[in-house]
Symmetry: none
Subunit: 215 residues, 4 copies
Amino acid sequence: MPPRKAAKNAELREDSIQRLSQAAFQLIVMKGYHATTLQEIAEAVGMTKGAIFFYFTSKERLLLHLLDIAEDHIVNSLAAHLTSAEGTALDKIVAYFHFGSWHGIERPYELLCLIQISIEFRHRSDAIGKRIVAIYNRIYRVLEEIIEAGRMRGELPKDLPTREIASTVVATHDGMMLEYHRREIDGEKLVRVVRTVFLQGLGLKPRPKPIRRAR
Amino acid sequence: MPPRKAAKNAELREDSIQRLSQAAFQLIVMKGYHATTLQEIAEAVGMTKGAIFFYFTSKERLLLHLLDIAEDHIVNSLAAHLTSAEGTALDKIVAYFHFGSWHGIERPYELLCLIQISIEFRHRSDAIGKRIVAIYNRIYRVLEEIIEAGRMRGELPKDLPTREIASTVVATHDGMMLEYHRREIDGEKLVRVVRTVFLQGLGLKPRPKPIRRAR
Amino acid sequence: MPPRKAAKNAELREDSIQRLSQAAFQLIVMKGYHATTLQEIAEAVGMTKGAIFFYFTSKERLLLHLLDIAEDHIVNSLAAHLTSAEGTALDKIVAYFHFGSWHGIERPYELLCLIQISIEFRHRSDAIGKRIVAIYNRIYRVLEEIIEAGRMRGELPKDLPTREIASTVVATHDGMMLEYHRREIDGEKLVRVVRTVFLQGLGLKPRPKPIRRAR
Amino acid sequence: MPPRKAAKNAELREDSIQRLSQAAFQLIVMKGYHATTLQEIAEAVGMTKGAIFFYFTSKERLLLHLLDIAEDHIVNSLAAHLTSAEGTALDKIVAYFHFGSWHGIERPYELLCLIQISIEFRHRSDAIGKRIVAIYNRIYRVLEEIIEAGRMRGELPKDLPTREIASTVVATHDGMMLEYHRREIDGEKLVRVVRTVFLQGLGLKPRPKPIRRAR
DNA sequence: CATGAATGAGAGTTCATTCAT
DNA sequence: AATGAATGAACTCTCATTCAT
């Protein structure tokens, strides 16, 4: 039964890659890429270091594989969700937070891994640096399109620049995810606060008078 | 003049420590703590690796020293600014963003170093992990006091929990700082967007006028 | 028909061994034994690493097998050629160069493999070291017998020691083969030069040419 | 006394580099480059692996350093010896053998290292492959110039091509050196045989006059 | 027969750290 | 006060080898 055998092997292979990837996601999110050793990853799935090199040719390639997965799972479905026709820009931005937080809770590691790597490789121009930048650029693009469209329809304040709004959304989102992992925090509450803030600001609204100048 | 000489030596010592610290701040912010080698730090100030051990007993102690500096410069003055009697909670939160961004632009490295370390050592319980948690806890405490006080005075929505508001503020602030460093972004614009969002939300509110119905 | 099947299997087995050996010869000659991996050898014949262990119990045994082949093909036929009764010692030495060069051109890998291994394992006393020494000793013995016989018949200068003449022949021959592979060189020209040198030296002698008959 | 100290350190450095290089020369000649580990080299001089990286940034760089030394000591002085005005081409070729054998006996490792590396890296185009080819090309060039000049003066047979004569000289020389190391052989006798062969061939010629003294 | 998964010993390399000077 | 030499532990990576299928 060669087909069965082949199938079994393929399964095994997929399973091993899967387990190694999951372990790597977790460890990288917990300790960072540089502080995570292949030894730890291997041990986490009950293999030896050498096994990693059977599936990935280097530590860097393993990480690139994780980025592929994360991009696929997160950015792709994000784009799919947010580029649909319906909904206002604000709806979509809120959806972005919800989406992220959903991932952050159900599948936290892929999302956090992207954030972690974007921080660790912020200023590097090697393969990983380029890859993570490309991934983030996709996110920025999706958001900026939403914002532009919203602005056209008058759903957003005209005096706030697109690029900086997108950055604010990403910054808040990533910061929120990190914060969620930094403290033991009620994720749902956190999202609710962020959503509220983004929708209404923190100000008590029926505002008595126009301009309260800060500072 | 042994005293004079001693004085001179002390000065020299301070100067060396100062220069090493600055270099370390920059490199850690750019590359992360784990990816920064003592070699690089030493070279950046024209010394050799060995010299660092004359001033700091280990790489870890060097980092702890940086954390001391950063706490002193940032958290202390932050607390001083924000615990003053005047101003509403919102004013102070806005000031928090401004304060951070000011530091982020004038003396970016100390602030970013705190953020970087809080991410790299998020889940560690060694000396550094404990230290960075302690520093962040001070920040949370300051913010939560402000928020509580504001809530008492009715300046903040009652349905948003203090802890999560503080987390949102910190998350947004840290995310914003990282974002500022991740992209080439106009820092002032970014702050303005964040401030606006926090104050008013992104929603187009029934601004005072529109309501005026025709006729 | 189990016998037929068995026969077929045996054939297949021989064929696989044959192909692996050829690939190994080539790769070892090109890169050296240590720098050649079983992976490469397997790939060169479209197998996997593991398959090699079905035919050879170790990399070392594979090499020993190659040495067997090379000894069989080269040293045996060399001995057969050179120990025949006819011809002077000089004829036979020339034949040695020709023989070598013939192998070197038609079947270069076996011969070069011997040379390569004799260099890589010169100073080792493991199985391979002993084997290659034994093979070379056979060659020396054949040559020394020829030389001794020639000396008896007065065909060779008396003042040159047998052992060193044999070494010179081997040295020149091996050096020539390596050189032939090191540069892009016209093999036939090279052999001609070597033969001429060995027969007449490089000195311009009042050559016996006199044969030119008068008139 | 900073100068003394500096001097001492410089001495120490030179000494360590020297010792490491010598050990590396020997081991590479005995076992080949690939089969020699940095561990062994370090142990041979009573250091640890790490020390090697203090002086050389990689195993490859260490080898390149050895090649520099060897080129300097051998090829340079070879060129100096052989490009002098006096002497016939034959004298110089004989001198080449003598020179080589002198090096081979007094400082055998540098010369043998060149030969060894030329064999191990014959077919590679990395930094080492290029380096060793460049070194050999210098040798060929020197020899070919000598041969050409000799041919002009009628000192060499006209029917033998320059390139192949040079190759024969190099091949014989290298082969001789390897042979010298392969067997326990009387080096002087070996050189004498080679010299005689090159001058007169192995044929018993009606020697015109007894002694044409080489050198 | 042959594969592909996995191992484990050991290689080259990095880097914080020590220490004599 | 500072250097440069050297260490040693830990890392990434390689490769011959084993084995279930």
